[in-house]
């Protein structure tokens, strides 16, 4: 089957479609193609604001091989820069740190403010001569990457080709408008990562569907049955699932987490879990939300960065210690239960005779939508 035929088969109606072929999950060539077509050309998640909480904090990260620097300036504004000096391309910051003054390149000491301005170019015109007529500092500031922070998730559009985040994600923002409120990270015990031997897409696809819940998460069967879940589908943007029977965690005293203010009654027992294409998985509940940024390491390896947030700053409130820890342990348990299926599907992608898979036309709709979106990015 040639690429055109394969593209057509993925885009076919779900009753006839096949999933993305094996190479999309195993091939370094496809992984390389996805870097630009899927990640750089869209609003992709790369980290969290809580990773640079204080003015002056900087943190280098590797985004699909792109050296990136998260930086919070002295006014508290978050910037995302390419972590390279404009002089010779040297990596500027190697470890997370707090910058009291400027970012100094370790090679020739060109210095940048946290707002990206090039402040000085020592000896650029010769020893002791820090200016030269051909070196215009106003043109040589740090390369800023288009970024937006939503619910503390840092999104970037490296290619700067998409509409503004608020426009591009307007449908999702409107769907969750009741949650447009400050969120507070739950602290160290509300943060964990999972290293998974799987292509990033399989982690997204698994998150999208409730079909596997009865088998992989049997603990849910007693109170959150398959029929209590519904599909969420927004063609070209996001997909996922919702539940009608969210149960709040309770302490032995009966205490619960505080709720987000002003939520409608739907959220008393409703919760939603949405994959924000390409790589951010979010879950909203009346009393907490979580975000997962899936970091693709290579075609067959990913890291899931999970952070849990609350409507009030309870990270340091000892009365919530047990509940917070219980919530994190519970979610980690759920996500760990998924590891064997995403890793198993990844190993299955080496089965030469697998044809991309046949979708359930009733249960796999959100997953198929994601396949179609990926296909459209790659085969534009």
């Amino acid at each position: 089957m040639n690429a055109h035929d394969h593209f057509a088969s993925v885009l076919a109606p779900i009753t006839e479609a096949r999933g993305l072929s094996n190479e999309h999950y195993t091939s370094p060539t496809f992984f390389e193609a996805e870097k630009r077509a899927v990640f750089f050309d869209n609003w992709s998640g790369i980290g969290f604001g809580k990773d640079v909480p204080e003015p002056g904090d900087v943190k280098p990260i590797d985004f699909l091989g792109l050296p990136v620097l998260l930086a919070r300036d002295q006014e508290g504004m978050l910037h995302v820069y390419q972590n390279t000096c404009r002089h010779r391309g040297m990596i500027l910051v190697e470890e997370p740190t707090n910058i009291r003054g400027v970012i100094r390149c370790p090679y020739h000491s060109w210095c940048y403010s946290l707002k990206g301005d090039l402040k000085t170019t020592p000896h650029v015109g010769g020893p002791g001569q820090n200016v030269h007529e051909s070196v215009d500092r106003s043109e040589l500031g740090l390369i800023e990457i288009r970024s937006h922070v939503w619910h503390d998730v840092i999104f970037v559009n490296v290619s700067a080709n998409r509409p503004a985040f608020e426009t591009d994600k307007a449908t999702l923002i409107a769907r969750w408008r009741e949650f447009e409120k400050p969120v507070f990270h739950g602290g160290a015990d509300s943060s964990f990562t999972l290293d998974v031997k799987t292509n990033w897409k399989l982690a997204v696809e698994n998150y999208c569907e409730s079909y596997h819940l009865p088998w992989v998460h049997p603990g849910l069967n007693s109170y959150s049955r398959l029929e209590d879940h519904y599909h969420i589908e927004e063609d070209g943007q996001f997909s996922g699932q919702g539940t009608l029977v969210y149960r709040q965690l309770k302490a032995e005293t009966g205490e619960t987490f505080p709720d987000f203010n002003g939520l409608s009654e739907y959220w008393n027992e409703g919760a939603e879990y949405i994959a924000v294409y390409p790589n951010v998985l979010m879950g909203v509940h009346r009393d907490h939300m979580f975000s997962i940024v899936i970091q693709p390491k290579d075609a067959e390896t990913s890291v899931e960065h999970v952070e849990i947030y609350y409507p009030e700053p309870i990270a340091d409130e000892t009365e919530f210690n047990d509940l917070r820890q219980k919530n994190a342990v519970q979610w980690k348990g759920v996500f760990v239960e998924d590891v064997f299926v995403v890793e198993g599907m990844q190993r299955g992608r080496h089965g030469l005779l697998f044809d991309g898979g046949k979708f359930s036309p009733v249960m796999d709709n959100p997953t198929h939508l994601f396949h179609q979106w990926v296909a459209r990015q790659l085969y534009r």
Binding site: R100, V102, R104, S109, T120, P127, G128, N130, V131
Partner: protein, 84 residues
């Protein structure tokens, strides 16, 4: 104030670099720059005052603006920005 010799300042700078004490590094480079300026060696002064300026900038020292102004007067740097 006792003016140290260049040799003594060199030794102190090596120690300060080993210790990674950037505040002390900035202060010592400025002192070296002062010695060169007193000797009438403008190029030498500008070289060392540049190093003092860079390290002062890095640590957010209030000395940075004054060092920039000195370098600007020597024709080696742009003037400090006017603060609003």
């Amino acid at each position: 104030m006792v003016t140290r010799t260049k040799s003594a300042l060199d030794k102190a700078l090596v120690e300060a670099h080993k210790a990674g004490d950037k505040s002390e590094i900035a202060r010592l480079y400025e002192e070296v720059g002062n010695v060169f300026e007193a000797d009438g060696d403008v190029d030498g002064a500008a070289f060392y005052l540049t190093h003092a300026y860079v390290f002062a900038l890095e640590i957010g020292s209030s000395r940075a603006d004054q060092l920039q102004e000195r370098l600007h007067r020597l024709g080696r740097e742009v003037p400090p920005s006017k603060k609003l």
